[in-house]
Symmetry: C2
Subunit: 451 residues, 2 copies
């Protein structure tokens, strides 16, 4: 039996002998070593050395009520005592699907899977079955999980991204087959004219246009109403589907970011917070499209299962979390987030730093540039910017005991209050003052931009 | 608030309004409707109408200790009270990886993911990065989850499977791009000469040969030592990897089915039972290959993360389950399974039915043919066979209150005892007698076989 209570460094050293890079997910990696959680409650996490931090990352936006919410914990423990997985159904999946469909004006039928990656994969496969076409259109820089077709050009950089009129299809993982690149069409987010020109070139082959309506890695700013309308109109004209990745953005409104737009996606992938802290993914949308998954059909067009899909633990936790995240809770959380952004913008003014903030609903991201970015290429982190944001986030984590996401983003939870928001904005003020000298040099060096 | 205690039929009717086909995974679908679990304990499941059944399916082989094992339940509840997911590490992932590597002579480094599908996908992508080659070789009929490249030709049938000398690459999901078909090579399992001929044709392009060492859907019989040796030798010669899908078969020995062979896979995908009843997948293997996933490298060759990957609930449940499934437990469970197979073979003799049983370790499958099948094509279920196996399984489920897997397979758990094994063999005896008249007619009609 190994010692359980140990230093973060010592656990990492053990981890390096058994996990590649010492981590099982790159997200948690940080230099000189990751930190390990002992316990958590609400918005507070205590590591194994006893240091308590305020959590504004919420496991990459997946914990809408923070940690160990008593109602979720109680419901899940009750379910676990009755079993966690069966070769039979449970009412838990039915009740949760009923709730999600009630929340939405768009969802007619659902399917649960185990992760956002699986949800997007199932959505893209479903789009191909329905349209009988092979190609997927996705935005340069957008993250949609690790399915090959969904990840192309997510990490494009100035050396390989090519002309904005026709962004290159770049591998994220070495060795991705050429066939994948040939079946992906990359468009510049929110750029209607260029996007339509690109889509037109592949009109006969595009199964769906995949959209994250507030894409975090692009810059965490929303799709415009005009852009969504343009894609909607184009897809109606060309026997293609408009499909949303709302794995992160479902939190923005009661029925997802899609509530904001006058036209609605044909299919939606979800994940993260709808699992109430447990692994989940979901696909929802028009019943005539979802029908391709129906096992009762004469021919199985899209046989779909999954050992842990719709397991009663994840669906129970998810249902309770979503019941708690009712219309009022959404509005309250969004208002608190707005207050935080206002305070952070004030801190920027006080520190006299050339920064900006973008976001939507209960999410925001700080950018190391004076004007809010409007594209992936504008928001792109050069090596210098990346180092500087890391310096800011290290300061916040190590000195202020505040956890943010490694892009400089925060994903709020209902467990946060004004007290934690004050700590955040005060901590950031000091962080801004700390990086100001380097930031000023950076602005001079990169004033010409990329264009 | 809807009534929770309801009839199975009534819940299914509600489900049909919200879930495609009324189910979230096709596995649980059955006519006239699925059944819904109220509670479970060990090897017994009680549905919402109060009917108790003995579980020999164990959520498609994922529950090695049956339901609600007290030690797993206790450890998981303790973890859930301390939190379920973080943007930080936990010791749970490190301890579990240490245990899995200790069990194995083959594993040097690991990564956890959320499902077997994700584990196989990550393994195939890793193979491509390491070898710099695009193609995947997989066995006709083998199930490896729902990643496109892994599922090709899983459901091939006499109308489309083509010559055994070069099995066709067939879509499982309509609309799978031609590029996927072009990058998959299909081989006939355990057929050394034909397989090597096929592999030779694509030698320059094959990244890995994917093998399930006891493939359930092919017929649940083990790979031969000679076949594994031949693949191993071929892959050494041609800069390719031999990779195992042990999502189901890890249970066969203490360190997986691979313990049985004189040569070992380069990479192994796992899932199901190693999650202790919670969603999990894992990739393990040679450290020089796994290194392509290392976030500390100068270039990220295979950036890999996942919101719920290595979450402390699944890794804690998995660790406790695997600690309990020690060398002695493996042997005891395999011996009980052997007893069950002996008793079932006796029942077949008493009922005078032309059936056979295949399997390995704690798994077996009943075949509606007198000789044990040696290939996917021999074990293939025609429409008539499928109807008859369904009749047998419906009898077992509805009249004998015994749950089996829909292929006619059982996946044992340590919660089973001689008492349940007796119930199984006695129930099957009556089931065999019931289907005997139809079975005798079937044998006459299909005597000529497919070749």
């Amino acid at each position: 039996m190994k010692l359980l209570h140990n230093s973060n460094k010592a656990v990492y050293e053990r981890a390096c002998h058994v996990l590649t890079g010492g981590v099982s997910r790159n997200t948690i990696f940080r230099k000189p070593h990751p930190f390990y959680v002992a316990t958590s409650k609400g918005s507070y996490i205590t590591d194994i050395e006893g240091v308590e931090r305020i959590d504004f990352a919420n496991n990459m936006a997946s914990l809408i009520h923070g940690h160990s919410h008593p109602a979720i914990t109680e419901a899940v423990i009750d379910q676990i005592k009755r079993g966690t997985a069966f070769t039979m159904g449970t009412e838990a999946e039915v009740r949760f699907a009923e709730l999600m469909i009630e929340r939405s004006g768009t969802f007619e039928r659902m399917r649960f899977v185990n992760s956002g990656t699986e949800a997007v994969m199932t959505m893209l496969k479903t789009s191909r079955v329905y349209t009988k076409k092979p190609k997927i259109a996705k935005a340069e820089g957008a993250y949609h999980g690790t399915y090959d077709y969904a990840e192309i050009s997510q990490t494009s950089n100035p050396d390989n991204w090519g002309s904005i009129d026709k962004p290159n299809t770049n591998r994220v993982v070495d060795g991705t087959p050429q066939g994948v690149l040939d079946d992906v069409v990359v468009y510049p987010f929110n750029d209607i004219e260029r996007t339509l020109n690109i889509l037109d070139e592949h009109a006969d082959d595009i199964a769906c246009v995949l959209i994250d309506p507030v894409p975090h890695r692009i810059g965490l700013f929303p799709a415009t109403e005009e852009f969504i309308q343009a894609i909607y109109t184009w897809t109606r004209k060309h026997n293609a589907l408009m499909v949303f990745d709302e794995v992160v953005t479902y939190r923005v409104n009661y029925g997802g970011k899609q509530d904001s737009f006058s036209v609605k996606p044909d299919l939606t992938a979800m994940g993260k917070m709808i699992g109430g802290g447990f692994p989940i993914g979901a696909l929802a949308g028009r019943s005539d499209i979802m029908e391709v998954l129906d096992p009762r059909g004469r021919i199985l067009r899209h046989p779909h299962s999954g050992t842990f899909s719709a397991n009663p633990v994840s669906t129970t936790a998810g249902r309770v979390a979503m019941e708690l995240f009712d219309k009022e809770a959404v509005l309250t959380l969004n208002a608190l987030t707005k207050t935080a952004v206002d305070q952070i913008e004030e801190a920027m003014a006080i520190a006299d730093v050339p920064l900006s903030v973008t976001g939507a609903g209960s999410m925001f991201r700080i950018h190391l540039q004076p004007d809010k970015p409007k594209s992936y290429r504008e928001a792109y982190h050069t090596k210098e910017k990346k180092e500087l944001i890391n310096e800011l986030l290290d300061y916040m984590f190590l000195e202020e005991n505040i956890i943010m996401i490694n892009t400089g983003a925060c994903m709020f939870a209902t467990s946060l209050t004004q007290k934690e928001v004050d700590r955040l904005s005060e901590g950031l003020l000091k962080g801004f003052q700390l990086i100001k000298p380097k930031l000023d040099r950076l602005q001079i060096n990169t004033a010409e931009g990329y264009f």
